[in-house]
Symmetry: C2
Subunit: 143 residues, 2 copies
C-alpha cells in the first residue's frame, strides 16, 4: 500500500506539505530534522510553515510512513519508512543511514530481560553507530 493510499484509507487528505515531505525524505539517505526539512523545502523555492512540518511529521510517523532515528548526539531525525520491522545504522561522520532487517533477532534477548527483570516488554529501540563504507575508506587513506 502506497503512502497515498494509507493516508486516504485513514481519512486524511493528500496535502501539499505532506506530499513534499514524503518526496523529500524518499530522496534523502540521511535522517532529517524538522529544521533541516524546513530549510530544504525553503530552498526549493516554496517555503513551508514550520508548524506544518511538525504537524506532518507527527502524523506520518504515527501512521508508520516515516521512521524516527536518533543521531548520535541525541537529536531526532526522520526517514521514509520502506516497510517491515527494521532498525538503522548511522554513520557518525556523514549521517548516511541504512536499514537492516530486525527480524526476531532480539527475541532471545527480550526473553532473557523479561525473566531477569520481571518487566513485560513490548517494544524496543535499537540503532547502531559507526562509519559508512565511504567514510571508512576515507579514514584509511588518511592513516
Amino acid at each position: 500500500m502506497t503512502w497515498h493510499e494509507e493516508l486516504t484509507k485513514q481519512g486524511y487528505r493528500i496535502s501539499g506539505p505532506r506530499r513534499r515531505i514524503m518526496e523529500l525524505l524518499s530522496d534523502t539517505r540521511t535522517p532529517l530534522t524538522p529544521a533541516l526539512i524546513h530549510k530544504h523545502l525553503a530552498l526549493e523555492g516554496k517555503p513551508l510553515s514550520l508548524a506544518s512540518v511538525y504537524r506532518a511529521l507527527d502524523l506520518l510517523a504515527e501512521l508508520n510512513l516515516l521512521c524516527q532515528v536518533y543521531f548520535s548526539d541525541g537529536t531526532l531525525g526522520y526517514m521514509a519508512h520502506t516497510g517491515g520491522h527494521h532498525h538503522h545504522v548511522l554513520c557518525r561522520r556523514c549521517n548516511r543511514s541504512m536499514e537492516f532487517g530486525g527480524h526476531e533477532d532480539l527475541d532471545e534477548l527480550t526473553e532473557r530481560v523479561q525473566a531477569e527483570t520481571g518487566y513485560v516488554i513490548n517494544e524496543h529501540l535499537l540503532q547502531f553507530y559507526g562509519l559508512c563504507p565511504s567514510c571508512a575508506a576515507l579514514r584509511q587513506e588518511l592513516a
Copy 2:
C-alpha cells in the same frame, strides 16, 4: 572507583551542584530530565541554577558517571551509572527503569549488520519498553 575519585582524577572539582545531582540520581529509580532535576533540587530548599544542571549533566555523562536514557516519547533523562556495559528497560506507565547486562549479546547481530551494510560499527543504542511488575499487576486487576 567512586565518582569523587573519578572527578578528581580527571582534574575536576567536587562541587555542590555535582554532588547534589549525583546524590539525587543515585536515590531515584526513574530517569530524570534536566527540568525535573532542577525542580527536585529546588524542593529540597536550595535551588540550583538551571544552567548548572545542564553543565553538570553534560560533564557527568561525558565521564560515564551518568547514563542517558530515552523515554518512549523521545525525551532524554539521566540515571546514575552503576558500572559495566548495560542497557535499560523502562516502564511506560511509571517510568521506573532497570538495568540489564549488555554483555556481548549484540555481538552476533553487530557482525551480521556489518557484513550486510559494510559499515564499521562501534557503538549501539538499545532500550526496551514495557510494563514493570507492579504496573503489570495493577493492569491485571483492572482487567
